[in-house]
Symmetry: C2
Subunit: 395 residues, 2 copies
C-alpha cells in the first residue's frame, strides 16, 4: 500500500472513502500502519487562564478540496463523545444526509465550572458558563476559523451538564450557533437554580432559522426542567426557533447521547438532500431550492457538482438548449473544475460548434494541470478529437 | 500531554475513555499529534490467491487489560463502514450495552465475486461466497485469533451484497458467528438466483442461540427477497434462531447502515446489562444471570468486577457474613486483581480477623506490583494499618 514513511497521506481505499494513513518510524511492520481519526491541538485561553485541548476531525476530502469550506460541529465532553460522534458525522455526510463537516471536540478541564450558568450552592466550582462561552466566542472560534477552512455555520452538541451549557448558549447567544443538540440536559434543580431567567432570555433574541433538538431518556429527575422549558417553546416563546423534543423512554442517561446526536443532525439538516421531485423539475427549481438552503444556513450552499453535471447530461439527451443553460450554470458554479469546462465543451461539440468546444476543452486541460482529478487523459483526448475535427473541416 | 515520540501509548483523557495517541517524528508541532482509530494489517490468502487488507479496532483498554479477551465483530465493506461502526462499538460498550469488542473490517478486492453465492448471468465475476467464507474460516479467523486475545464469539455485519453474504453465512455456516446483522440485504433477484436453496439450508443446521437482525429501508426491489426469507423464519424454520426484521421506511439503501448496526448490536446483546432487580436480589441471582449469559454467548461472561465489588461493599454495611461470601467470590473471579484481595482484607479487618486480613493486604500489594492499577499506595496503607493493629495487640 501507498504509505509514506513518517508522514501521513490521504489514500483512497477501494475508491470509496478516504482514510488518513500514517506510519511510525518503527522497524517496518504492517501493524504500525494506523488509521487516524483526528488531531489534537492545544490552545491557550486568556479568558480561562489555562490551556485547552481540542480534538479536531477533518472531513475525508479536506486536503484534496483546497477551496472547500466546512461547517463546524463543536462537541462538549469530547473525551467521551469525540470518537463515536465523528463516526456519525462521517456516515451522515457520506450518505448525503448532511454536509461534510469539521468536528471540534472540547476536552474538559472542569465541566462543573464551565457548563453551569450560575453558582450552585455547596459546589466547589460552578457558574462559569459565561466565561466559557466568552472563551468559545473570542478565542476558540477565531483559532479554529483561522486554522481551518470553515463556513460561518456552527453546531453545538452537549450531554447532561453539557446539554445545560448548550441550552444556555441557545438562550443567551443564539448568534453563535445555527444548530443546538442538547442531550439529556440538566435544566431544573430544586428552585430552578441551574438555569434562571429562561423566560426573559427567550423573549430577548432573534432565533430565526435556529434549530434546537432536545432529548431525554428515562430520567425522571430531569423531566421537570425539560417540561418547563418545552412549555415555553410550545407557547411561542423563542421567536422563530425550529425545535423538537424527543423522549427516549428505552434509554437512560448514559445511553441517550449517540442516537440523540444522530437524529439531532438529521433534524438540523432535514431537507439537505434535495427531493427527487425538485430535481425532476430541472434547473430553476434546483436553484430556488439551494437558494432557500443558503438563506436557511447563512452561507452559500451550491447545487452539488455531481448533481448539476448529471442533470446536464440527462437533459442533453433530449434538449440541447436547456442542457447548454445547465452546463453554463455548472461552469459558473464550479469555474475551477476541469469537469465543468469539459462538459460544456461536449455540449458545444454535439451542437457542431467546434471552435467554442475547443476553447472549453483547452480550459479543462489547463485546469486539470493545476488540479489533477484523475481525468486528465480524458480531457486531452477530447481536445485532440476536436482538433482533428477542426482539421478535417479545413480540408 | 504525555506523548511519547515515535511510539503510541494509551492515555487517559480526563479519566473517561482511553484514546491512542501517537506522534510523528516531524519537528515538534502540536498538529502532529493524532488520534488513532485502528490499525491496518495485510494477510495473504491462499484460498483467494491474493493479499487481503484488514482494518482492526481494539477496545480502549486492550493494552492495559493483559489477560482480557474480546468477542470480534467482522465487518464487510470496511472502506465504507469501519469508521462509523467502530464509533458505535466504542459507544455501546462504554455505556455497558454490550461488551467491549474487537472490530475487524474487511477491505474489498472484488465484492461481487466474494459476496454472491452463485454465478450471476452477465456478471464478470460472481459466485465466490463459498471461497470467501473458506478464507474467513480457515485463514482470517486463525490469523486474527492468534494475533489478538479473542473470545470464541463472532458477529458478522454486512450491507447490500454484504448483507447477502451475511445471510448466506447464517444459512450455510451458522457455527461461524453468534450474531448476524444483514443491512438492506439483496436476497432475491428475478428467479431467486441470488440465494438459492434457502429452505433446505434453513432446515439443516442447528441455530440455537444464534441472533439474526435484518433491516430494509424504502427499497421496494429488495422487498420480495426479504419477505420470502422472513416468512420462512416466521413459519418456524431456522431451528431456534432469535431473529428480528425491522423495516425502516424513512431510510434508503445508502442511509440504512448506521442505525441498523446500532440497533442490531442492541438486539444481539439485549440483556447484557443486568436488570436492577437481579442486582438487588444479590449474589445468587447475579451468578445465575451471568451463567445464563455464558450459556447464551458460548464463552465465560463473568460478573463485572465493579459490580461485584460494589455489591460487596453495599452488603458489608448490614450483613458481614454475606459480604464475606461475595468478596470470596470476587477473589475467585478476579484472582489477579489487587482490589479483590484488598476488599476481602477490609472485610476481615472489620471482623477483627487481623491475621487473615494482613495476608490479603499482602497479596493486594504483591499483585499491584505486578500489575499497577494506580492504588498501590492505598494497599500499602492498608497493610501498614493492619501491621500497626497487630503490633498494638501484642503489647
Amino acid at each position: 500500500m501507498n504509505v509514506v514513511n513518517g508522514l501521513y497521506i490521504r489514500k483512497c481505499l477501494a475508491g470509496c472513502i478516504l482514510i488518513m494513513i500514517m506510519q511510525t518510524p518503527l522497524p517496518a511492520d504492517e501493524d504500525t500502519r494506523l488509521l487516524v481519526a483526528g488531531k489534537i491541538i492545544t490552545l491557550h485561553s486568556t479568558e480561562l487562564n489555562e490551556n485547552r485541548t481540542l480534538l479536531v476531525y477533518l472531513p475525508d476530502n479536506y486536503e484534496m478540496m483546497e477551496e472547500k469550506k466546512y461547517p463546524v460541529l463543536y462537541l462538549l465532553d469530547a473525551e467521551n463523545h469525540f470518537f463515536h460522534v465523528t463516526g456519525i458525522v462521517q456516515f451522515l455526510s457520506s450518505s448525503w444526509t448532511m454536509p461534510q463537516m469539521i468536528v471540534v471536540g472540547l476536552i474538559n478541564v472542569n465541566r462543573d465550572r464551565d457548563f453551569t450558568p450560575v453558582w450552585i450552592p455547596n459546589s466547589r466550582l460552578s457558574g462559569g458558563a459565561d466565561r466559557f462561552l466568552d472563551f468559545l466566542e473570542k478565542e476558540c472560534f477565531p483559532a479554529v476559523e483561522s486554522r481551518y477552512r470553515t463556513e460561518p455555520y456552527r453546531i453545538l452538541a452537549g450531554h447532561s451538564l453539557g446539554g445545560t451549557l448548550t441550552v444556555y448558549a441557545f438562550l443567551t447567544r443564539p448568534y453563535l450557533f445555527g444548530g443546538y443538540i442538547a442531550v439529556s440536559p440538566a435544566l431544573g434543580l430544586p428552585k430552578n437554580m441551574l438555569l434562571p431567567d429562561i423566560e426573559s432570555h427567550l423573549s430577548e433574541k432573534n432565533r430565526r432559522n435556529k434549530y434546537l433538538y432536545i432529548t431525554l431518556g428515562n430520567e425522571p429527575s430531569y423531566r421537570p426542567g425539560i417540561d418547563r422549558f418545552t412549555e415555553l417553546l410550545q407557547d411561542g416563546s423563542g421567536d422563530g426557533v425550529v425545535w423538537r423534543f424527543v423522549s427516549m423512554p428505552k434509554y437512560h442517561h448514559g445511553t441517550t447521547p449517540h442516537l440523540s446526536v444522530y437524529h439531532g443532525l438529521e433534524f438540523i439538516f432535514d431537507g439537505w438532500q434535495v427531493p427527487a421531485r425538485i430535481y425532476a423539475e430541472g434547473l430553476d427549481s434546483l436553484r430556488a431550492y439551494y437558494d432557500a438552503l443558503t438563506e436557511r444556513f447563512g452561507y452559500t450552499v451550491k447545487i452539488p457538482e455531481q448533481m448539476i453535471r448529471r442533470l446536464g447530461y440527462e437533459t442533453m439527451a433530449y434538449d440541447r438548449e436547456t442542457a447548454r443553460i445547465i452546463f453554463e450554470e455548472y461552469v459558473r458554479l464550479y469555474p475551477d473544475s476541469p469537469k465543468s469546462h469539459d462538459s460544456l465543451g461536449e455540449l458545444y461539440e454535439l451542437e457542431g460548434k467546434y471552435l467554442i468546444a475547443k476553447k472549453h476543452y483547452e480550459t479543462a486541460v489547463k485546469k486539470s494541470r493545476l488540479r489533477p482529478d484523475g481525468y486528465e487523459d480524458l480531457y486531452m483526448e477530447h481536445l485532440q478529437r476536436i482538433r482533428d475535427k477542426l482539421t478535417s473541416k479545413l480540408f
